[in-house]
Symmetry: C2
Subunit: 366 residues, 2 copies
């Protein structure tokens, strides 16, 4: 084990403090040690547009950084963005050494920062705690690699696999601890997506209940814009709402949404038409708006379309110790077209967690 | 904490060695300490018809039991059954003290054994480790209280709540570890029950794969006796099979089963008609055959009927990290007639367990 790993783990903890607020940027944490190895500065990237982690840590260290070491979870950037390039600041601080967990997958950086530091005569050590850093920023990396945010599909069901009773009743299948966990999950996402059916059936609020500021973008995907006139999502004081539809939405329905957006308290209600309206086009549009990680909280129709389109990388199944039963009762997913067990894709599972009386099982596509 | 508790816990461990083999009797374990408190005998009830735990422990202790203490998980019996009453043997051994976890709920005993010991001048301490003893013998107590065995409903499903693909394929949803755990569960049951649908679809073997000897009774509940001519269950070399049907079964179908039972290797195939053929009447018949604990391994139709009839006390849900999907795909249960969440009965849950890639969640009716 590298002697740098415990310090990098501290830097990764700092980085994680930015969870849910850094998009479209990654989470980054940094430590500065003086020439004698004493910790003299700490920083993390708190929000897009605000200083990068290295800059904060170097500012805290001041002159004590001279001859010292920067430990940073991501390669310092070498391009002018909303803030000046970090590589220049690192060089200007007179450091002797930089320890980096992972190279920046952003094509504007991609090793350029490391090269600049080396050219300036600094010792650069790369790859300390890389696996943890990749895990921490897997959503950012996924967006850069695929042009779509990493997407989590969440549902709550009874142990007999139902997400509602036969009559549609579904509040509440899971208990307060599980619902609080979902608020926390929303706080780590840039957008929360439902379909028109969920909006009509549940009239959800879809916020993190203040755990994230700003609240995640609330998204309704409804090709035809068949949506209710009254909905909690039309009130945008707490959080913005994006209504996404296809070309088939009638002019009257478009107008209805646009008129809603004129009302006081609904200023952050926005309508977006997508030519090929579906999960894939939606995620591409959300990537374009800087979303690294999004949450599907939709019913079985949209969830099935999202899974089938490869638009789900992680699952979070909350399972309640209840038997709902019901032949026509809703289940988490609809038809996937499988005809044999060996066609099923593999999902890796984490150990299950108890959430009060309920169970949480998180899976990742392998 | 009583000083006797660690010894009683040892006696309970001994008792549990009889799991799956003592029915219709309970599991019982016993220790004998000499007058100086040294352990001089151990015993457990290994099988119905064989000596009771106390008798085995006292035989091992011999004369050293005189002036000593018997620690036993259940009140010694005071009635002549397949073996002589234990209370008389305990008194004859010249013990000074008997420590008992719980009184025998059997109406033929029910405190009579304790009274006999006290009348003979022995010190009797009752209730040490009682909660564990009740848990260990909950199936035996349930049968005595209700006239039906304690019943466990087991299913294996995908994380999206499916027990088969739309085309009926279901082998295998869960992995080898989970299937081995089910064999172990069968080994703790006196009977394993399926319906005609499961027999036709899966042609199961339903044994414990040698983990229990004798194997549990395999039961097929099929009102009309619409059963295949060929099935693994018709071979009774490994385990006996009981075919249970209602009055509506045609003479031809009854005869077909009876003819199967004449074949070599099918000697332990038995047919039973029940007037009111269903889960309740079946469990009463199985209680009459000495079953303390049975396992429902049936499809959604029979499982739903069993739940609705109050014939399920415990659930074991094996959940696989797979998405099966499928609109017409089978789910664990059918219609239960609930119309509001507050109608649902409460199930207490144990912490989930990992079984290889799968998850096991066990619930108990509260």
């Amino acid at each position: 084990m590298s002697a740098w790993l415990p310090l990098m783990e501290r830097a990764l903890q700092l980085a994680a403090l930015g969870a849910g607020r850094t998009s479209p940027n990654p989470m980054v944490g940094a430590l500065v040690l003086d020439g004698a190895g004493q910790l003299v500065g700490e920083g993390f990237h708190a929000k897009a547009g605000e200083p990068h982690a290295e800059v904060g840590a170097l500012a805290q260290a001041g002159d004590r950084a001279r001859g010292g070491t920067l430990v940073v979870t991501l390669e310092p950037c070498c391009h002018q963005g909303r803030t000046p390039p970090c590589s220049a600041a690192v060089i200007a601080a007179g450091l002797r050494r930089v320890v980096i967990a992972m190279a920046d997958p952003n094509p504007k950086v991609a090793g350029g920062g490391i090269a600049e530091l080396q050219q300036a005569g600094l010792e650069v050590i790369v790859g300390i705690g890389e696996a943890q850093a990749l895990q921490l920023n897997r959503a950012f990396c996924h967006r850069l690699a695929h042009g779509r945010p990493l997407a989590i599909l969440k549902w709550a069901m009874s142990v007999d696999g139902r997400t509602a009773l036969s009559n549609g009743a579904s509040q509440w299948i899971s208990g307060p601890q599980a619902r609080a966990w979902v608020h926390q999950l929303r706080a780590q996402c840039d957008a929360v997506i439902v379909g028109g059916g969920t909006l009509r059936a549940d009239n959800p609020l879809l916020t993190s209940r203040g755990r994230r500021s700003p609240e995640p973008l609330r998204v309704v995907l409804s090709r035809s814009l068949e949506l209710p006139a009254e909905a909690q999502l039309w009130q945008t004081d707490l959080a913005p709402t994006l209504v996404v539809h296809g070309p088939e939405a009638t002019p009257a329905r478009r107008q209805a949404i646009d008129q809603l957006a004129q009302k006081p308290g609904s200023e952050r209600l926005e309508r977006l038409e997508l030519a090929n309206c579906g999960p894939l086009a939606l995620l591409e549009a959300l990537a374009g708006r800087g979303c690294n990680q999004v949450l599907w909280e939709c019913g079985p129709g949209l969830a099935t379309a999202a899974v089938a389109a490869g638009c789900v990388q992680e699952l979070a199944a909350v399972i309640a110790p209840k038997l709902l039963g019901g032949l026509p009762a809703q289940t988490p997913l609809g038809e996937l077209g499988h005809t044999a067990m060996d066609q099923l894709v593999g999902w890796g599972s984490q150990p299950p967690q108890s959430l009060g009386p309920d169970l949480l099982w998180q899976l990742k596509l392998e």
